[in-house]
Symmetry: C2
Subunit: 235 residues, 2 copies
DNA sequence: ACAAGAATGTCGCATATTTGACATTCTTGT
DNA sequence: ACAAGAATGTCAAATATGCGACATTCTTGT
Protein backbone atom coordinates (compact mmCIF):
# COMPACT_ATOMS: atom_id res chain seq x y z
CA UNK A 1 0.00 0.00 0.00
CA UNK A 2 1.54 3.24 -1.06
CA UNK A 3 0.40 5.38 1.80
CA UNK A 4 2.21 3.21 4.30
CA UNK A 5 5.05 5.69 4.15
CA UNK A 6 5.63 9.39 4.42
CA UNK A 7 2.37 11.19 4.49
CA UNK A 8 4.77 13.91 5.21
CA UNK A 9 4.49 17.27 6.79
CA UNK A 10 8.11 18.03 6.95
CA UNK A 11 8.34 21.65 7.90
CA UNK A 12 6.11 21.65 10.94
CA UNK A 13 8.27 20.95 13.91
CA UNK A 14 6.24 22.08 16.90
CA UNK A 15 2.66 20.95 17.24
CA UNK A 16 0.36 22.60 19.65
CA UNK A 17 1.28 20.41 22.58
CA UNK A 18 4.19 21.87 24.51
CA UNK A 19 7.23 19.69 23.82
CA UNK A 20 8.66 17.79 26.72
CA UNK A 21 12.17 19.06 26.17
CA UNK A 22 11.14 22.71 26.22
CA UNK A 23 10.31 22.33 29.90
CA UNK A 24 13.80 21.11 30.75
CA UNK A 25 17.06 22.95 31.32
CA UNK A 26 20.12 22.33 29.18
CA UNK A 27 21.68 20.35 32.02
CA UNK A 28 18.70 18.12 32.35
CA UNK A 29 18.62 17.48 28.64
CA UNK A 30 22.29 16.59 28.69
CA UNK A 31 21.64 14.05 31.39
CA UNK A 32 18.96 12.38 29.33
CA UNK A 33 21.24 12.42 26.38
CA UNK A 34 23.83 10.42 28.31
CA UNK A 35 21.30 7.90 29.52
CA UNK A 36 19.98 6.88 26.12
CA UNK A 37 21.21 5.90 22.72
CA UNK A 38 20.59 7.46 19.36
CA UNK A 39 18.92 5.85 16.38
CA UNK A 40 18.46 7.29 12.92
CA UNK A 41 15.47 6.69 10.70
CA UNK A 42 14.75 7.36 7.06
CA UNK A 43 11.65 9.19 5.95
CA UNK A 44 8.66 6.92 6.39
CA UNK A 45 10.55 4.26 8.29
CA UNK A 46 8.59 2.48 10.97
CA UNK A 47 9.76 3.13 14.52
CA UNK A 48 7.23 1.23 16.58
CA UNK A 49 4.15 -0.81 15.90
CA UNK A 50 0.88 -1.04 17.73
CA UNK A 51 1.13 -3.97 20.10
CA UNK A 52 4.88 -3.79 20.68
CA UNK A 53 5.81 -4.53 24.24
CA UNK A 54 9.39 -3.31 24.39
CA UNK A 55 9.32 -0.60 27.02
CA UNK A 56 11.01 2.76 26.80
CA UNK A 57 10.65 6.42 25.95
CA UNK A 58 11.70 8.05 22.68
CA UNK A 59 12.59 11.69 22.32
CA UNK A 60 12.76 13.40 18.96
CA UNK A 61 16.06 15.18 18.46
CA UNK A 62 15.79 16.01 14.78
CA UNK A 63 13.07 15.37 12.25
CA UNK A 64 9.59 14.33 13.23
CA UNK A 65 7.24 11.47 13.76
CA UNK A 66 3.75 10.64 12.75
CA UNK A 67 1.53 8.82 15.18
CA UNK A 68 -1.52 6.84 14.18
CA UNK A 69 -2.90 3.42 13.46
CA UNK A 70 -2.77 1.42 10.26
CA UNK A 71 -5.93 -0.45 9.48
CA UNK A 72 -5.81 -3.97 8.03
CA UNK A 73 -6.52 -2.45 4.61
CA UNK A 74 -3.62 -0.02 4.80
CA UNK A 75 -5.63 3.06 5.62
CA UNK A 76 -3.94 5.23 8.16
CA UNK A 77 -5.66 7.09 10.96
CA UNK A 78 -3.52 9.97 12.02
CA UNK A 79 -3.58 11.06 15.64
CA UNK A 80 -0.79 13.58 15.70
CA UNK A 81 2.45 14.80 14.30
CA UNK A 82 5.33 15.19 16.68
CA UNK A 83 8.34 17.41 16.15
CA UNK A 84 11.56 18.31 17.88
CA UNK A 85 11.50 17.89 21.62
CA UNK A 86 8.41 15.75 21.71
CA UNK A 87 8.29 12.28 23.17
CA UNK A 88 6.36 9.11 22.65
CA UNK A 89 6.20 5.75 24.31
CA UNK A 90 6.29 7.30 27.76
CA UNK A 91 3.30 5.35 28.88
CA UNK A 92 5.09 2.05 28.30
CA UNK A 93 7.44 3.24 31.04
CA UNK A 94 4.80 3.92 33.64
CA UNK A 95 2.16 1.33 32.84
CA UNK A 96 1.89 -2.28 31.77
CA UNK A 97 0.04 -1.44 28.59
CA UNK A 98 1.25 -2.36 25.10
CA UNK A 99 1.77 0.35 22.53
CA UNK A 100 -1.45 1.56 20.96
CA UNK A 101 -0.04 3.29 17.94
CA UNK A 102 2.16 2.95 14.96
CA UNK A 103 4.90 5.54 14.83
CA UNK A 104 6.98 6.31 11.80
CA UNK A 105 9.57 8.89 10.95
CA UNK A 106 8.74 12.01 8.97
CA UNK A 107 11.87 13.07 7.14
CA UNK A 108 15.36 12.11 8.29
CA UNK A 109 14.89 11.64 11.97
CA UNK A 110 17.08 11.08 15.00
CA UNK A 111 15.58 9.64 18.13
CA UNK A 112 17.03 9.48 21.58
CA UNK A 113 15.76 6.29 23.12
CA UNK A 114 15.90 5.49 26.81
CA UNK A 115 14.94 2.19 28.35
CA UNK A 116 12.09 2.06 30.85
CA UNK A 117 14.25 1.14 33.82
CA UNK A 118 16.80 3.80 33.03
CA UNK A 119 14.23 6.49 32.62
CA UNK A 120 12.38 5.50 35.77
CA UNK A 121 15.60 5.82 37.73
CA UNK A 122 16.18 9.29 36.35
CA UNK A 123 12.64 10.35 37.25
CA UNK A 124 13.02 9.12 40.78
CA UNK A 125 16.22 11.06 41.20
CA UNK A 126 14.93 14.27 39.72
CA UNK A 127 11.18 14.94 39.90
CA UNK A 128 11.33 17.79 37.41
CA UNK A 129 11.35 15.20 34.62
CA UNK A 130 8.09 13.86 35.91
CA UNK A 131 6.60 17.28 36.16
CA UNK A 132 7.47 18.03 32.55
CA UNK A 133 5.99 14.75 31.43
CA UNK A 134 2.87 15.34 33.49
CA UNK A 135 2.20 18.69 31.88
CA UNK A 136 2.84 17.28 28.42
CA UNK A 137 0.45 14.43 28.94
CA UNK A 138 -2.28 16.58 30.44
CA UNK A 139 -2.16 18.89 27.48
CA UNK A 140 -2.23 15.92 25.15
CA UNK A 141 -5.29 14.50 26.83
CA UNK A 142 -6.90 17.89 26.48
CA UNK A 143 -6.30 17.78 22.76
CA UNK A 144 -7.68 14.27 22.48
CA UNK A 145 -10.83 15.33 24.27
CA UNK A 146 -11.32 18.10 21.74
CA UNK A 147 -10.92 15.65 18.90
CA UNK A 148 -13.40 13.31 20.48
CA UNK A 149 -15.95 16.03 20.90
CA UNK A 150 -15.49 17.17 17.32
CA UNK A 151 -16.04 13.64 15.99
CA UNK A 152 -19.18 13.16 18.04
CA UNK A 153 -20.85 16.50 17.78
CA UNK A 154 -19.78 18.47 14.75
CA UNK A 155 -21.12 18.08 11.23
CA UNK A 156 -18.58 17.16 8.60
CA UNK A 157 -17.66 20.68 7.55
CA UNK A 158 -17.00 21.90 11.07
CA UNK A 159 -15.33 18.66 12.04
CA UNK A 160 -12.91 19.08 9.17
CA UNK A 161 -12.12 22.64 10.19
CA UNK A 162 -11.54 21.62 13.77
CA UNK A 163 -9.16 18.84 12.83
CA UNK A 164 -7.22 21.19 10.60
CA UNK A 165 -6.83 23.54 13.53
CA UNK A 166 -5.84 20.72 15.85
CA UNK A 167 -3.28 19.38 13.41
CA UNK A 168 -1.65 22.71 12.69
CA UNK A 169 0.87 24.48 14.89
CA UNK A 170 -0.66 27.07 17.16
CA UNK A 171 1.90 29.76 16.74
CA UNK A 172 1.52 30.29 13.00
CA UNK A 173 -1.00 32.41 11.21
CA UNK A 174 -1.02 30.61 7.92
CA UNK A 175 0.35 27.07 8.25
CA UNK A 176 0.95 24.79 5.31
CA UNK A 177 -0.15 21.26 6.11
CA UNK A 178 1.47 18.44 4.20
CA UNK A 179 -0.73 15.46 3.81
CA UNK A 180 -2.91 13.74 1.27
CA UNK A 181 -6.63 14.10 1.42
CA UNK A 182 -6.99 10.37 1.77
CA UNK A 183 -5.02 10.40 5.03
CA UNK A 184 -6.98 13.27 6.46
CA UNK A 185 -10.15 11.48 5.40
CA UNK A 186 -9.43 8.35 7.38
CA UNK A 187 -8.29 10.44 10.33
CA UNK A 188 -11.72 12.03 10.30
CA UNK A 189 -13.42 8.72 9.74
CA UNK A 190 -14.99 9.69 6.42
CA UNK A 191 -14.45 8.81 2.79
CA UNK A 192 -12.10 10.71 0.56
CA UNK A 193 -15.01 11.87 -1.54
CA UNK A 194 -16.81 13.43 1.40
CA UNK A 195 -13.67 15.07 2.67
CA UNK A 196 -13.01 16.43 -0.77
CA UNK A 197 -16.43 18.06 -0.80
CA UNK A 198 -15.84 19.55 2.63
CA UNK A 199 -12.47 20.94 1.60
CA UNK A 200 -14.12 22.37 -1.47
CA UNK A 201 -16.61 24.26 0.65
CA UNK A 202 -13.98 25.55 3.01
CA UNK A 203 -12.02 26.64 -0.02
CA UNK A 204 -15.04 28.49 -1.43
CA UNK A 205 -15.33 30.27 1.90
CA UNK A 206 -11.70 31.35 1.41
CA UNK A 207 -10.71 29.66 4.65
CA UNK A 208 -8.26 27.21 3.17
CA UNK A 209 -6.37 26.58 -0.05
CA UNK A 210 -6.08 22.90 -1.00
CA UNK A 211 -3.14 21.80 -3.07
CA UNK A 212 -1.39 18.65 -4.19
CA UNK A 213 -0.48 16.66 -1.09
CA UNK A 214 -0.80 19.80 0.92
CA UNK A 215 -3.26 22.31 2.19
CA UNK A 216 -2.86 25.84 3.37
CA UNK A 217 -4.89 27.44 6.09
CA UNK A 218 -5.32 30.99 4.89
CA UNK A 219 -5.58 32.37 8.38
CA UNK A 220 -5.80 30.37 11.56
CA UNK A 221 -7.64 33.11 13.42
CA UNK A 222 -10.25 33.51 10.74
CA UNK A 223 -10.85 29.79 10.57
CA UNK A 224 -11.10 29.65 14.33
CA UNK A 225 -13.69 32.38 14.54
CA UNK A 226 -15.65 30.96 11.62
CA UNK A 227 -15.78 27.68 13.49
CA UNK A 228 -16.86 29.42 16.66
CA UNK A 229 -19.63 31.25 14.87
CA UNK A 230 -21.05 27.93 13.77
CA UNK A 231 -20.44 25.90 16.87
CA UNK A 232 -23.94 26.64 18.12
CA UNK A 233 -25.36 24.54 15.31
CA UNK A 234 -25.01 20.91 16.32
CA UNK A 235 -25.05 17.92 14.03
CA UNK B 1 -34.25 19.69 29.15
CA UNK B 2 -34.79 16.71 31.32
CA UNK B 3 -31.57 14.90 30.70
CA UNK B 4 -29.54 17.75 32.08
CA UNK B 5 -29.38 15.82 35.32
CA UNK B 6 -28.56 12.40 36.54
CA UNK B 7 -28.04 10.10 33.61
CA UNK B 8 -27.00 7.97 36.46
CA UNK B 9 -24.91 4.90 36.83
CA UNK B 10 -24.83 4.85 40.54
CA UNK B 11 -23.35 1.55 41.50
CA UNK B 12 -20.21 1.66 39.46
CA UNK B 13 -17.51 3.12 41.61
CA UNK B 14 -14.24 2.28 39.93
CA UNK B 15 -13.89 2.77 36.23
CA UNK B 16 -11.09 1.16 34.38
CA UNK B 17 -8.60 3.92 34.91
CA UNK B 18 -6.61 3.35 38.06
CA UNK B 19 -7.82 5.85 40.64
CA UNK B 20 -5.38 8.46 41.75
CA UNK B 21 -5.89 7.74 45.44
CA UNK B 22 -5.18 4.04 45.09
CA UNK B 23 -1.58 4.90 44.32
CA UNK B 24 -1.14 6.84 47.53
CA UNK B 25 -0.44 5.72 51.08
CA UNK B 26 -2.83 6.50 53.92
CA UNK B 27 -0.47 9.18 55.17
CA UNK B 28 -0.35 10.88 51.84
CA UNK B 29 -4.10 10.82 51.55
CA UNK B 30 -4.43 12.34 55.00
CA UNK B 31 -2.17 15.15 53.98
CA UNK B 32 -4.32 15.94 51.01
CA UNK B 33 -7.35 15.77 53.20
CA UNK B 34 -5.93 18.50 55.41
CA UNK B 35 -5.03 20.70 52.50
CA UNK B 36 -8.46 20.86 50.93
CA UNK B 37 -12.03 21.43 51.87
CA UNK B 38 -15.03 19.21 51.42
CA UNK B 39 -18.15 19.94 49.43
CA UNK B 40 -21.28 17.85 49.15
CA UNK B 41 -23.41 17.53 46.05
CA UNK B 42 -26.84 16.12 45.36
CA UNK B 43 -27.45 13.62 42.59
CA UNK B 44 -27.23 15.40 39.27
CA UNK B 45 -25.91 18.64 40.70
CA UNK B 46 -23.46 20.51 38.54
CA UNK B 47 -19.92 20.69 39.90
CA UNK B 48 -18.07 22.47 37.13
CA UNK B 49 -18.91 23.79 33.72
CA UNK B 50 -16.95 23.78 30.52
CA UNK B 51 -15.15 27.09 30.29
CA UNK B 52 -14.76 27.66 34.03
CA UNK B 53 -11.42 29.17 34.90
CA UNK B 54 -11.28 28.63 38.65
CA UNK B 55 -8.23 26.45 39.14
CA UNK B 56 -7.97 23.46 41.39
CA UNK B 57 -8.17 19.69 41.66
CA UNK B 58 -11.17 17.71 42.90
CA UNK B 59 -10.96 14.27 44.42
CA UNK B 60 -13.98 12.04 44.81
CA UNK B 61 -14.37 10.78 48.37
CA UNK B 62 -17.84 9.29 48.13
CA UNK B 63 -20.30 8.99 45.29
CA UNK B 64 -19.30 9.56 41.71
CA UNK B 65 -19.12 12.04 38.90
CA UNK B 66 -20.06 12.07 35.29
CA UNK B 67 -17.85 13.88 32.83
CA UNK B 68 -19.00 15.10 29.46
CA UNK B 69 -20.19 18.05 27.46
CA UNK B 70 -23.70 19.44 27.14
CA UNK B 71 -24.59 20.59 23.68
CA UNK B 72 -26.61 23.74 23.15
CA UNK B 73 -29.67 21.56 22.59
CA UNK B 74 -29.27 19.71 25.87
CA UNK B 75 -27.79 16.53 24.46
CA UNK B 76 -25.04 15.18 26.59
CA UNK B 77 -21.87 13.56 25.33
CA UNK B 78 -20.46 11.33 27.97
CA UNK B 79 -16.72 10.91 28.24
CA UNK B 80 -16.41 8.95 31.43
CA UNK B 81 -17.75 8.10 34.80
CA UNK B 82 -15.49 8.62 37.76
CA UNK B 83 -15.83 6.90 41.10
CA UNK B 84 -14.15 6.89 44.47
CA UNK B 85 -10.53 7.95 44.44
CA UNK B 86 -10.63 9.51 41.01
CA UNK B 87 -9.77 13.10 40.32
CA UNK B 88 -10.72 15.76 37.84
CA UNK B 89 -9.64 19.29 37.14
CA UNK B 90 -6.00 18.40 37.61
CA UNK B 91 -5.05 19.97 34.36
CA UNK B 92 -6.28 23.37 35.48
CA UNK B 93 -3.54 23.11 38.08
CA UNK B 94 -0.70 22.47 35.69
CA UNK B 95 -1.78 24.39 32.60
CA UNK B 96 -3.43 27.65 31.67
CA UNK B 97 -6.32 25.97 29.91
CA UNK B 98 -9.97 26.43 30.84
CA UNK B 99 -12.07 23.42 31.77
CA UNK B 100 -13.20 21.43 28.76
CA UNK B 101 -15.98 19.45 30.38
CA UNK B 102 -19.10 19.64 32.40
CA UNK B 103 -18.93 17.59 35.56
CA UNK B 104 -21.92 16.66 37.67
CA UNK B 105 -22.46 14.44 40.65
CA UNK B 106 -23.84 10.92 40.35
CA UNK B 107 -25.66 10.12 43.56
CA UNK B 108 -24.87 11.84 46.85
CA UNK B 109 -21.29 12.88 46.39
CA UNK B 110 -18.54 14.33 48.54
CA UNK B 111 -15.60 16.02 46.89
CA UNK B 112 -12.32 17.04 48.37
CA UNK B 113 -11.28 20.19 46.59
CA UNK B 114 -7.79 21.64 46.69
CA UNK B 115 -6.78 24.95 45.19
CA UNK B 116 -4.18 25.02 42.44
CA UNK B 117 -1.55 26.82 44.48
CA UNK B 118 -2.01 24.54 47.45
CA UNK B 119 -1.80 21.39 45.38
CA UNK B 120 1.24 22.62 43.49
CA UNK B 121 3.02 23.21 46.76
CA UNK B 122 2.24 19.70 47.89
CA UNK B 123 3.50 18.22 44.64
CA UNK B 124 6.75 20.12 44.90
CA UNK B 125 7.30 18.85 48.38
CA UNK B 126 6.46 15.25 47.66
CA UNK B 127 6.98 13.99 44.10
CA UNK B 128 4.98 10.83 44.68
CA UNK B 129 1.80 12.85 44.15
CA UNK B 130 3.04 13.82 40.75
CA UNK B 131 3.93 10.29 39.89
CA UNK B 132 0.47 9.07 40.78
CA UNK B 133 -1.11 11.79 38.71
CA UNK B 134 1.20 11.05 35.83
CA UNK B 135 0.23 7.39 35.72
CA UNK B 136 -3.45 8.25 35.99
CA UNK B 137 -3.29 10.69 33.15
CA UNK B 138 -1.28 8.40 30.90
CA UNK B 139 -3.83 5.65 31.36
CA UNK B 140 -6.61 8.09 30.69
CA UNK B 141 -5.03 9.26 27.49
CA UNK B 142 -4.71 5.63 26.48
CA UNK B 143 -8.43 5.18 26.97
CA UNK B 144 -9.22 8.28 24.96
CA UNK B 145 -7.10 7.02 22.11
CA UNK B 146 -9.09 3.81 22.07
CA UNK B 147 -12.30 5.77 21.93
CA UNK B 148 -11.00 7.89 19.08
CA UNK B 149 -9.98 4.87 17.10
CA UNK B 150 -13.35 3.24 17.67
CA UNK B 151 -15.20 6.33 16.45
CA UNK B 152 -13.08 6.61 13.35
CA UNK B 153 -12.67 3.03 12.32
CA UNK B 154 -15.38 0.77 13.62
CA UNK B 155 -18.83 0.26 12.11
CA UNK B 156 -21.74 1.15 14.36
CA UNK B 157 -22.25 -2.26 15.88
CA UNK B 158 -18.65 -2.72 16.88
CA UNK B 159 -18.33 0.88 17.94
CA UNK B 160 -21.24 0.42 20.29
CA UNK B 161 -19.73 -2.72 21.78
CA UNK B 162 -16.39 -1.02 22.27
CA UNK B 163 -17.93 1.93 24.07
CA UNK B 164 -19.87 -0.37 26.32
CA UNK B 165 -16.64 -2.07 27.27
CA UNK B 166 -14.86 1.22 27.79
CA UNK B 167 -17.66 2.56 29.97
CA UNK B 168 -17.95 -0.51 32.17
CA UNK B 169 -15.65 -1.38 35.04
CA UNK B 170 -12.90 -3.77 34.10
CA UNK B 171 -13.09 -5.98 37.12
CA UNK B 172 -16.67 -7.18 36.71
CA UNK B 173 -17.92 -10.01 34.55
CA UNK B 174 -21.45 -8.83 34.09
CA UNK B 175 -21.78 -5.11 34.79
CA UNK B 176 -25.08 -3.29 34.84
CA UNK B 177 -24.76 0.06 33.13
CA UNK B 178 -27.19 2.78 34.11
CA UNK B 179 -27.92 5.21 31.37
CA UNK B 180 -30.55 6.05 28.83
CA UNK B 181 -30.08 5.05 25.25
CA UNK B 182 -30.32 8.68 24.21
CA UNK B 183 -27.23 9.53 26.27
CA UNK B 184 -25.24 6.64 24.93
CA UNK B 185 -26.35 7.63 21.45
CA UNK B 186 -24.96 11.13 21.66
CA UNK B 187 -21.79 9.79 23.27
CA UNK B 188 -21.34 7.65 20.20
CA UNK B 189 -22.29 10.46 17.87
CA UNK B 190 -25.30 8.69 16.38
CA UNK B 191 -29.06 9.03 16.59
CA UNK B 192 -31.11 7.24 19.19
CA UNK B 193 -32.80 5.21 16.46
CA UNK B 194 -29.51 3.88 15.13
CA UNK B 195 -28.24 3.08 18.56
CA UNK B 196 -31.44 1.29 19.33
CA UNK B 197 -30.98 -0.93 16.29
CA UNK B 198 -27.41 -1.68 17.27
CA UNK B 199 -28.43 -2.60 20.80
CA UNK B 200 -31.13 -4.80 19.33
CA UNK B 201 -28.56 -6.71 17.32
CA UNK B 202 -26.21 -7.09 20.25
CA UNK B 203 -29.16 -8.31 22.25
CA UNK B 204 -30.04 -10.88 19.60
CA UNK B 205 -26.47 -12.09 19.77
CA UNK B 206 -27.02 -12.56 23.50
CA UNK B 207 -24.17 -10.22 24.28
CA UNK B 208 -26.20 -7.65 26.16
CA UNK B 209 -29.58 -7.24 27.78
CA UNK B 210 -31.11 -3.79 27.31
CA UNK B 211 -33.55 -2.53 29.94
CA UNK B 212 -35.25 0.63 31.01
CA UNK B 213 -32.59 3.26 31.65
CA UNK B 214 -30.09 0.52 32.01
CA UNK B 215 -28.25 -2.15 30.13
CA UNK B 216 -26.56 -5.30 31.23
CA UNK B 217 -23.48 -6.75 29.63
CA UNK B 218 -24.07 -10.49 29.84
CA UNK B 219 -20.39 -11.28 29.98
CA UNK B 220 -17.57 -8.84 29.50
CA UNK B 221 -15.17 -11.51 28.27
CA UNK B 222 -17.58 -12.82 25.69
CA UNK B 223 -18.30 -9.36 24.40
CA UNK B 224 -14.59 -8.63 24.26
CA UNK B 225 -13.79 -11.70 22.25
CA UNK B 226 -16.75 -11.16 19.94
CA UNK B 227 -15.42 -7.68 19.27
CA UNK B 228 -11.95 -9.04 18.64
CA UNK B 229 -13.25 -11.61 16.20
CA UNK B 230 -14.75 -8.81 14.13
CA UNK B 231 -12.05 -6.23 14.44
CA UNK B 232 -10.51 -7.35 11.19
CA UNK B 233 -13.50 -6.03 9.31
CA UNK B 234 -13.06 -2.29 8.99
CA UNK B 235 -15.81 0.18 8.26
C1' DA C 1 10.55 16.76 -22.51
C1' DC C 2 8.28 12.79 -21.58
C1' DA C 3 6.09 8.87 -19.54
C1' DA C 4 4.45 6.75 -15.44
C1' DG C 5 2.72 7.18 -11.18
C1' DA C 6 0.31 9.62 -7.59
C1' DA C 7 -3.14 12.51 -5.96
C1' DT C 8 -7.20 15.22 -6.70
C1' DG C 9 -11.99 16.33 -8.54
C1' DT C 10 -16.38 14.49 -9.66
C1' DC C 11 -19.70 11.43 -11.23
C1' DG C 12 -24.04 8.10 -10.27
C1' DC C 13 -25.75 4.43 -7.60
C1' DA C 14 -26.08 1.71 -3.37
C1' DT C 15 -26.32 1.91 1.43
C1' DA C 16 -26.64 3.75 6.00
C1' DT C 17 -28.25 7.19 8.98
C1' DT C 18 -31.17 10.99 10.52
C1' DT C 19 -35.50 12.94 11.36
C1' DG C 20 -39.95 13.25 13.08
C1' DA C 21 -43.67 10.82 14.31
C1' DC C 22 -46.14 7.60 16.86
C1' DA C 23 -47.29 3.42 19.72
C1' DT C 24 -45.70 0.86 23.50
C1' DT C 25 -43.68 -0.17 27.83
C1' DC C 26 -41.93 1.02 32.11
C1' DT C 27 -41.56 3.97 36.36
C1' DT C 28 -42.96 7.09 39.81
C1' DG C 29 -45.73 9.95 42.74
C1' DT C 30 -50.18 10.50 44.66
C1' DA D 1 -54.45 1.53 41.65
C1' DC D 2 -54.01 5.06 38.66
C1' DA D 3 -52.51 8.83 35.85
C1' DA D 4 -48.67 11.32 34.04
C1' DG D 5 -44.26 11.36 32.58
C1' DA D 6 -40.19 9.15 30.83
C1' DA D 7 -37.89 5.99 28.06
C1' DT D 8 -37.89 2.51 24.54
C1' DG D 9 -39.21 0.32 19.98
C1' DT D 10 -40.29 1.07 15.26
C1' DC D 11 -41.64 3.05 11.08
C1' DA D 12 -41.41 5.72 6.33
C1' DA D 13 -39.46 9.53 4.04
C1' DA D 14 -35.58 12.56 3.52
C1' DT D 15 -30.78 13.10 3.70
C1' DA D 16 -26.09 12.12 3.93
C1' DT D 17 -22.37 9.22 3.19
C1' DG D 18 -19.87 5.40 1.13
C1' DC D 19 -18.26 3.01 -2.94
C1' DG D 20 -16.37 2.34 -7.33
C1' DA D 21 -15.20 4.29 -11.45
C1' DC D 22 -13.14 7.52 -14.24
C1' DA D 23 -11.08 11.92 -15.99
C1' DT D 24 -7.93 15.38 -14.73
C1' DT D 25 -4.04 17.52 -12.72
C1' DC D 26 0.24 17.46 -10.66
C1' DT D 27 4.89 15.44 -9.56
C1' DT D 28 8.94 12.83 -10.21
C1' DG D 29 12.50 10.19 -12.37
C1' DT D 30 14.80 9.30 -16.60
Amino acid sequence: MSNMRHSCMSDLPGFRVTPFLSALSADMIARLSDAGFRRKFRDGQLVHSRGDTLRGISIIETGGAQVGIYGPDGTFILTSYLGHGHTFGEFTVFTELPRTHDVSAVGETTLLQISASRFLAICDEEPAYQRALLVTSLVRAHRLLEMLDALQRLPLLERTAKFLLLLSPENTTSPLLRFRQSDLASSLGVSRASLNRALGELSTLKLIEPGYSQLQIIDRETLQSWLLSRSSKPR
